[in-house]
Symmetry: C2
Subunit: 564 residues, 2 copies
């Protein structure tokens, strides 16, 4: 049987409907197994993925996209693993006019595939990506510095779930109105007015996805699939240090499109240090998805007037500690949060507000200094075994973060110094443990802006009310993707929930077990809200998809048939 968009829809319709239902109910659901187990992925999957990654190294990455051969500057690349070796991969330098021309030419055929057909193709791309999760995990690990397990989960199945979520939302939004209707308006004693109407979903143009250095697939897939499923072409511009995961993604997407009889130029790759600005201002580019620095995000929002711009930028995430009846669980939970991927997550807690008079911890009072001590001790103990530590910490992604750790240690009183850990397998990997500082609440000029990386500050406040007021204000002024609260007082929890709703940030309360403030689950947790400066959109909701397409109608009168 020939593969068509419609046949792919038939194959994946049940998955799609489950995804739509999960995104409504917000109960637990996932389409892609998160454990890298042979049972889920096959006996040879791990070895195959490692071999596929090895085969990419020291080679040109072949991509048969337009302009690749006649590009002026030849090839680009230069990725280096934070675990200590060069990838040696080169990519075709993009010919922007050729990519844009090819993308525009591909769009009418993509429109005609219709909402169902496009959704079917997109789910098929995601399933193919899932099958390559080990290869992608290695690519993510050795570009971002994530340890393997995280690179597999966040870079593979969790990213694919976020992509599927975007497909499901896009499909739901596109099919919100009937594709055709008979409209019959009564006219009293006269015959009714009767019209046949058609409602066509039309993509807005070309989507540009600007990838980030730390989560190229997880942060890239929502925009990529939201734009693609809604009828647009997509040009993927990876961050210069994390190209490979998105290059593999583009290649897989092109393969599936071609197999389904569609133009593969609907998805292309544009590698280059300075081309993001050029692409972002092109009139053909009507959608931009961006994750990265506030500076460039603000520039996009203020200059790319022709496009709908979705940004995720910097923020300062807070946790407010009022009290807990499980101090050990709290410390264990926070230690993991601060350590995971060396705090290089946009969702990692940076500021922990503790009242100067301390907290109620189970049966006893715990002074401010004691809270700091148990937290520092908890992190230190959690990372005491190097073999285990490196599997949580991963490696430091950028030189800038390395320097930041050094500089930050001068900002306040050091409660726990950051130390280098020698990676048992990769001796050249740059591994660092979290730095924990203490500061006074009034030193907001030091702790109140993003210090990206393994840097946490315990801030001494007058009271929990003071903590809440400060955390909410930081969220409103500096942005935040996450907030946390520990308290045993139901009234205070309700009051804090209200304060964080008004500040516009997702709140996690009393996490002491296996759920962490810096992790969100597709189909249930929204990542970001769009309601504070850290992001102007959420992953994923109706607002994230509904503005990526238009509905264009036609209508024609129905002529009454002559009586027989």
């Amino acid at each position: 049987m020939t593969t068509t968009p419609q046949s792919l829809f038939a194959t994946h319709e049940a998955t799609l409907r489950s995804a739509v239902e999960a995104s409504r109910s917000r109960a637990y659901w996932s389409a892609f197994p998160e454990m890298p187990s042979p049972r889920a992925y096959g006996e040879t999957a791990a070895a195959d993925g490692e071999a596929a990654f090895a085969a990419h190294r020291d080679q040109p990455f072949a991509l048969d996209q337009p302009g690749a051969t006649k590009a002026p500057a030849g090839t680009l690349g230069g990725e280096r693993s934070p675990f200590g070796f060069d990838l040696g991969i080169t990519y075709p330098a993009p010919d922007i006019d050729a990519l844009i021309g090819a993308a525009k030419a591909a769009m009418p055929g993509w429109r005609k595939a219709g909402p169902d057909g496009r959704a079917g193709v997109c789910v098929e791309i995601l399933k193919r990506l899932n099958a390559r999760s080990f290869e992608i995990a290695n690519a993510v690990m050795h570009t971002t510095g994530q340890a393997f397990m995280m690179a597999f989960q966040a870079g593979g199945p969790h990213a694919q779930d976020r992509g599927l979520e975007a497909v499901a939302y896009g499909w739901k939004a596109m099919t919100d109105q009937a594709p055709a209707a008979r409209w019959e308006k009564p006219q009293g004693k006269n015959p009714p007015l009767v019209m046949d109407k058609r409602f066509e979903v039309v993509g807005r143009g070309i989507g540009l996805v600007i990838g980030c250095a730390t989560f190229p697939t997880w942060n890239g897939y929502p925009g990529l699939f939201a734009s693609l499923v809604t009828g647009n072409a997509v040009i993927v511009k990876p961050g210069p240090t994390a190209i490979l995961p998105l290059a593999i993604t583009v290649r897989v997407a092109r393969e599936v499109l071609a197999e389904a009889g569609l133009d593969p130029n609907l998805v292309t790759l544009a590698v280059g240090d300075t081309i993001a600005k050029d692409l972002a201002l092109r009139p053909e580019v009507t959608l931009i998805d961006y994750t990265g620095s506030t500076g460039f995000g603000d520039w996009l929002e203020r200059n790319a007037h022709q496009a709908q711009v979705y940004t995720e930028k910097a923020g300062v995430n807070s946790v407010v500690i009022d009290g807990t009846d499980d101090p050990k669980g709290m410390v264990r939970n926070l230690a993991f949060t601060l350590s995971l991927y060396s705090g290089q997550m946009c969702t990692t807690t940076q500021v922990i507000f503790v009242p100067k008079d301390g907290i109620q911890a189970g049966a006893e009072r715990m002074g401010f200094d004691q809270v700091v001590a148990v937290l520092a001790g908890g992190v230190d103990k959690f990372l005491s075994d190097p073999e285990r530590a490196v599997e949580v910490l991963g490696a430091i992604q950028s030189d800038a973060t390395l320097s930041r750790i050094k500089e930050a240690s001068k900002l306040g009183t050091v409660a726990l110094p950051s130390r280098a850990v020698v990676h048992p397998k990769f001796p050249e990997a740059r591994v660092r443990t979290p730095l924990i500082l203490t500061m006074d609440a009034k030193e907001e000029d030091k702790y109140g802006h993003e210090l990206f990386g393994p840097i946490a500050i315990v801030v001494k406040t007058d009271s929990t009310a003071d903590s809440l007021e400060r955390a909410a204000r930081l969220t409103r002024t500096r942005g935040a993707l996450t907030a946390g609260l520990y308290s045993t007082d139901p009234a205070l929890i309700e009051q804090a929930t209200e304060a964080f709703v008004e500040a516009g940030v997702a709140l996690s309360v009393n996490l002491t077990g296996g759920v962490f403030v810096n992790q969100s689950a597709a189909f249930s947790d929204f990542h970001g809200t769009g309601a504070n400066p850290a992001a102007n959109a959420a992953l994923c909701d109706l607002a994230f998809v509904a503005n990526r397409f238009r509905v264009v109608q036609s209508r024609v009168p129905v002529v009454a048939e002559a009586a027989p």
Copy 2:
């Protein structure tokens, strides 16, 4: 029984569900009777409405909103009926800081009313407005120049239907995800992770509605109700010549809000010539709905970075005539379209493309000149009886349009001159019939930009293919809200439909009866597409509402109960 948001939701839930269902099916539906009949509105409704309008005249318009008494400049007004008399109404000069402060203070209570409660309140406001349709019709008539029947229908029930449509879409979008969920993630042999989650809908801030001179309620209600139902406060800034219809609207909204125990400052009025720019750049203003000139619309899109901006601007609407088997019906239909409200609709056809070799009209060929002659003759005949003519034409809204008619007559060959008609009831009314010109296709510099008012140009093209190419290009470059086609060739109709879908404009085919290209029906026809320069949004779809609110979540672990 006390009126509450929840009790209003209970009262109006069936209406709301019908509106949601109609907007999905796109079949005919309306909540508000469009005929100004005593049966629908009551025996005394017409007289009561006229009396209510008369009572507004030569009076200050009382509105108990913040800052009204201490406003610096006193009062503003100066509306004059295009039918020839001053309204003599004055409005409180706004104190912008007071309005913004009061709006922000009102929002938390409005959020707590929840999606259902807010929708209930909004439908109640619309029902109250409906009961005052005669009063509003008189206000619309004597600010915009619409004839009474149109002022009633478009200014009353049709505008109310468009408002209800926005409420229905907003309610649907806000309730797209469950308000709360229990999330239970399996952990193999270990107990599952269990979290309780809440998802709160939060408005983005203050919505600013900038009204237009010709359809203050019809173009104003969608933005007003879309922003309001989604949890925002709204400041209504009417066009300086059409204040009264929106002032009445604001007063009714405030009454209903207060009766439901809510803060009436959620809806306020800001009258003034130059305050739109000041308001539009305020950081508290996060949503802007604008109908008017392309110049100010572009300025808003480029400068109000803090806000989501929805604009409807200028355009050039085309009809392509290829052939017809009902030439009389075609001419009758076009004559009405060109005459209705003297062509002062953003949806009125401006350019009619006809091939130089003429068209097939029923059994015979009709040359280009003959097409022009029957069209000019049809319009002339349709408007030959002054008493009937004024009920279609209404009056010319602005001096600028009066001058434009005069200037335009020099642009091409006059096929039908515009003439003044003496209004039997209002001798000072400025009534004008449509001017019809002919031009050659190459004179696009003359016909290819908006000539707002009763000005139509029949353009001579090489062929229907040429006509289609030109109409589609005009749409893409200059924008259009409507397009029309007359053809008896099914293949050509399909090809033209495709061309107009790609150009991004709604197409009406072979209209010869009681449906007109310049009219759209709420719940079935989208007004505008957002896919060409005439508008960046459609009334009304998911994209129009989904970005007006945010979802903010909180989550807390469910602690396993001890076994009994």
